[in-house]
């Protein structure tokens, strides 16, 4: 039995007018902010620490600890990361379009708790409707008094700027996002020393939190960190949004209590994924975005828990699960993921810039029947040059983690589906059916 309660971040998303101030206020909106403002900032931060809210962007770093690392300075910034671009991830997209006020309220709570008076919400540029909704909500929140010079009559001043991106995967990486917000190319900064908490936007101490992370804050303030921490298990507390796509009956974004649900539930439960179309078998699935190593049918019973998935050799990452059925060509899937990384490598570091191109070319010829048997070892060698040892968690030769994310899919395909790769070589063509649009 899957319990999809409580709805912490998606309580409003199904309402037709969920994005309006009117609906937000009618459903308890901005009351959490009012409560937070009646507390000392340190007490608000303490509640979030108690909740042990892990960052929902992909790295899973505890939000409270991120806040406590913020250097005290006269100027500090909060930046909300809404540049959702990890392939197959579409949870922030839902939150931005359906509940922008919740993001603004969470932003105000986080800003108050960290003593920030200027916040930026960096929204992916392709979310044109989301940007409109966010800006409209921001305008409404100012008019209502929830943002601005005197937030809800507390004399706390907060300015929030909605900032559009312009299409670059790398800008989801927090330091690249800051470069982009400074009006530059999205080149990641090297960490250490440039951790945003010490040297962030304009060189000032900066907190960067993901949209989903921020969206949890109103509930945590209202109900208390303990109640949040009571959900889930171990370090994976609360609920989380899982974006399910690929070969499933009901692709969608589901809010699920952490740890209590398995991948099998997510993919097969009638109230969630509803299984694989036409009763096909599962070949493999990606548990947390295309940067994550793949799992096979044997891992279906793992719980949706960050530590459990980590120990099993992959990651929950951005919370996106992609299902491949028996008709899916794993070589083609790995090639397409390699092509993505090649296109989106920012070009700053040589192993990633050059390596991703080599890997994509070798995977292309393997998939299209032009490969040689030794190509499998060749592509793994190229991967090893980006992430020596090909272990998990991966070693890194590049400034950011885009580089070491490239081998995940390739190594998975080579390990799990070496035989299928060899058939491509022997037959001189792909033995799997072409992907076609499902009709009716």
């Amino acid at each position: 039995m899957i319990t999809r309660a409580p709805r912490i971040v998606t309580s409003r998303v199904e309402l037709a007018d969920s994005f309006t101030l009117e609906r937000y206020l009618a459903t308890g909106g901005y009351e959490a902010l009012r409560k937070a403002l009646s507390m000392a900032p340190a007490d608000v931060a303490a509640e979030v620490n108690k909740a042990s809210l892990l960052g929902r962007g992909g790295a899973g770093f505890p939000a409270g600890r991120k806040w406590s690392m913020l250097r005290h300075a006269t100027t500090t910034y909060l930046v909300v990361n809404g540049d959702e671009s990890e392939p197959a991830t579409f949870k922030d997209h839902v939150l931005i379009e359906r509940d922008p006020h919740q993001i603004l309220e969470g932003t105000a709570i986080a800003a108050y708790a960290t003593g920030v008076s200027k916040a930026f919400i960096y929204c992916r540029g392709e979310f044109a409707l989301g940007l409109e909704r966010l800006q409209q909500a921001c305008n409404e929140a100012y008019a209502y008094g929830a943002l601005g010079a005197d937030v809800l009559g507390s004399r706390y001043a907060l300015d929030v700027v909605i900032h559009p991106g312009a299409g670059a995967y790398i800008c989801g990486e927090e330091t690249a996002l800051l470069e982009s917000l400074e009006g530059k190319r999205g080149f990641p900064r090297i960490k250490p020393p440039f951790f945003p908490a010490a040297f962030g936007l304009y060189g000032e101490p900066t907190v960067v939190n993901n949209v989903e992370t921020i969206s949890n804050l109103p509930w945590i303030v209202t109900h208390g960190g303990d109640r949040f921490a009571a959900l889930g298990e171990g370090s994976s507390t609360g609920t989380r949004l899982f974006a399910l796509s690929g070969r499933v009956e009901h692709p969608g974004c589901f809010e699920i209590e952490m740890s209590k649900t398995t991948f099998r539930d997510l993919i097969y439960d009638p109230s969630l994924g509803g299984g694989i179309p036409a009763g096909k078998a599962l070949r493999a699935f990606i548990p947390g975005g295309v940067s994550a190593p793949w799992f096979g049918p044997d891992q279906l019973d793992l719980g949706l828990n960050q530590d459990v998935v980590g120990q099993a050799g992959s990651m929950l990452g951005s919370g996106s699960v992609v299902v491949m059925d028996s008709d899916t060509c794993p070589v083609r899937a790995a090639w397409r993921i390699a092509q993505f990384f090649h296109r989106e490598s920012c070009g700053e570091c040589t192993p990633c810039r050059e390596g991703s191109g080599w890997i994509e070319k070798i995977m292309y010829r393997l998939e299209h029947g032009l490969g040689r048997e030794e190509d499998i070892d060749l592509v793994l060698d190229a991967c090893d040059n980006i992430s020596p040892g090909l272990r998990w968690p991966p070693a890194q030769t590049t400034i950011c983690v885009l580089g070491p994310s490239i081998p995940s899919a390739i190594v998975s395909a080579a390990k799990m589906f070496r035989d299928e790769m060899l058939v491509h070589v022997k037959d001189g063509s792909c033995p799997f059916p072409a992907d076609v649009v499902r009709r009716g």
């Binding site: 579409f90 200027k118 409707l129 010079a149 507390s154 530059k184």
Partner: protein, 217 residues
């Protein structure tokens, strides 16, 4: 003589005022220029450089990094077909091949009548509606080849003009509050989202004024 219109220059100044450093407004101003022209011309980049206090080469050098910023002219509708993993598994390449055939152009090209520019995109975060397509960054999907043709026909005829505004993702709404020296209710009159008009324009509260930076004790 500036290339950007007087209204856009004014709006550009109000966008620049949102940021502690002018250069931060580079991407928003590029979107603004694309709302005017559909793409970033040499002249527009010179205007932007002037507004930001940097060189036109810095504007181009930054803009060329980003997929949404076009340094060459585009058609009235920029059609972006996602072919990343989730859409691929749902048949996106079938849709893309069909789009190329039915529009008579390859990815990266514009139809002779200037109606369509076809692009292939990386994941657009519309995977629950795969295969998904964006037109001027408005979502459509799931689409099959017939659905694509119907969409193209509707776009050509102007039937989707409401749902798919012209270029420039910031064209329908702007910040109307909280800026130094800006009157209440200026701009921001757009309806945020095609499905249902939210309260728009007119009755904004008093502007909150510039943040003072005060943090409560």
């Amino acid at each position: 003589m500036a290339h950007l219109s007087l209204a856009n220059l004014e709006r550009a100044e109000s966008i620049v005022a949102c940021y502690p450093q002018r250069r931060s407004a580079l991407i928003p101003l590029c979107h603004l220029a694309q709302a005017q022209d559909g793409w970033l011309s040499e002249e527009a980049m010179e205007d932007i450089a002037g507004l930001l206090g940097c060189t036109p080469a810095e504007v181009r050098g930054t803009a060329s990094f980003y997929d949404m910023l076009h340094t060459e002219p585009v058609g009235r509708h920029v059609v972006t077909v996602c072919t990343n993993i989730a859409c691929m598994l749902a048949g996106a390449y079938e849709v893309l091949d069909h789009a190329e055939a039915s529009l008579g152009i390859s990815v990266g090209q514009t139809t002779a009548d200037g109606e369509f520019t076809l692009e292939q995109a990386e994941c657009l975060a519309g995977c629950d509606n795969a295969p998904c397509v964006q037109v001027n960054h408005r979502f459509f999907g799931p689409l099959d080849p017939d659905g694509f043709d119907a969409l193209a026909k509707d776009l050509r005829s102007g039937r989707l003009a409401e749902t798919v505004p012209a270029h420039g993702i910031l064209s329908r709404i702007e910040r109307s509050v909280g800026l130094p020296g800006q009157a209440a209710g200026s701009g921001g009159g757009a309806e945020a989202g095609g499905e249902r008009g939210s309260p728009a324009g007119g009755e904004r509260g008093s502007p909150a004024g510039p943040p003072t930076g005060a943090v409560p004790e």
